[in-house]
Symmetry: C2
Amino acid sequence: MAYDFWYWPTIPGRGEFVRLTLEACGIAYRDCAREDGGEALMADMASHDRGPAFAPPYLSIDGATVSQTANILLYLSERHECGTLGLKSRYWLAQLQLTIMDMVAEAHDVHHPVGVHLYYADQKAEALRRAEGFRDERIPKYLSYFKRALGSEPGNWVAGARWSYADLSLFQLVAGLTYAFPLRMASVGGRFPALMALHDRVAALPELQDYLASDRRLSFNEEGIFRHYPELDAA
Amino acid sequence: MAYDFWYWPTIPGRGEFVRLTLEACGIAYRDCAREDGGEALMADMASHDRGPAFAPPYLSIDGATVSQTANILLYLSERHECGTLGLKSRYWLAQLQLTIMDMVAEAHDVHHPVGVHLYYADQKAEALRRAEGFRDERIPKYLSYFKRALGSEPGNWVAGARWSYADLSLFQLVAGLTYAFPLRMASVGGRFPALMALHDRVAALPELQDYLASDRRLSFNEEGIFRHYPELDAA
């Protein structure tokens, strides 16, 4: 039976981290809001008396939800035994995924430092200040950590010899950062060759070729989490 | 064998969510940085060639770490079979805990909207703007969700008949919000009686009485995540 997967229909956002794992693992799903629209998403989200979700993305299962990106990936990896397995790697992958999601949240807050209830244009002055710190302090700090994480296990992947959902997520993170901050990523990327190579290895995975070439794969845009506002980027 | 637990020694912060579960479950631990200091924490954090942590809190286990608050709680609850158990509740508790941690991060960013590399005094203008949205939009939105989550299962606790780490964490969240935003919490708290009652039930748990009365329990203060800056609060 296909999962009912729900996420905002016009942006890759947090939903894309889930899609990549669903696709690479060959798990059947219905991308409900892309078929039925954003209002259907809001109606579905309000309908769960049991186990409600705070926000998309989520899977709707037997009337309850499995939500929070990192939690969905934990669920899928355990339930479908896809990618790297094993008790030892479970918590390691979860801590990496949560750190990836922390950086995703920070990348979002660069253009929304005052709050999600306001437009970017209404918080641009604050965004200019926040972007400087994100570029100069946070990008190198996070990428240095992911480099160290990747180097801490033998093999080409974060948990060893086989790719995991955290590898797929690192691909999406690097892609999003490169879209949003091309100048900064061009200037710091050379310091993280293993991370850039990981991005390229995921992009070349046979399991993902059909998906990446399909219209199921959404492009980054300025309604999403990773937005390219040239005024927020610098080398 | 006692766990080596590491967190900044002078603030409750994210570490307190872990301490509450360690204490309520009767799990032995050494609060390393409170014994050895913040420099020992930074040295330990840099020393993990395998499975490094991005930031405290973390447990140091066999040379690797288990980090990210929600992941530590998942690990402890599974490993020690403490609190609510069961496959069905595992992902439900994880998604609640991750939503709690999202609100914790937002509560922190109220006083640090531009970045952690700057002092509060250097981002006070931005903080005043962010605080308004946090008080008016985010606090009601999150508390409404937790109220709904709590009401979605029978029984007094978020996953039914027995307390879980997510209940302990909701206690700490409500306590921190009440410390940081006393005026706002006084004005909205009445709309969430079940959540306030949950806070009081956790505070009265026999398993926590020794701990809460001890000096192992750190007070909120203005170096932490939940800071009481009167200029950021309003009814």
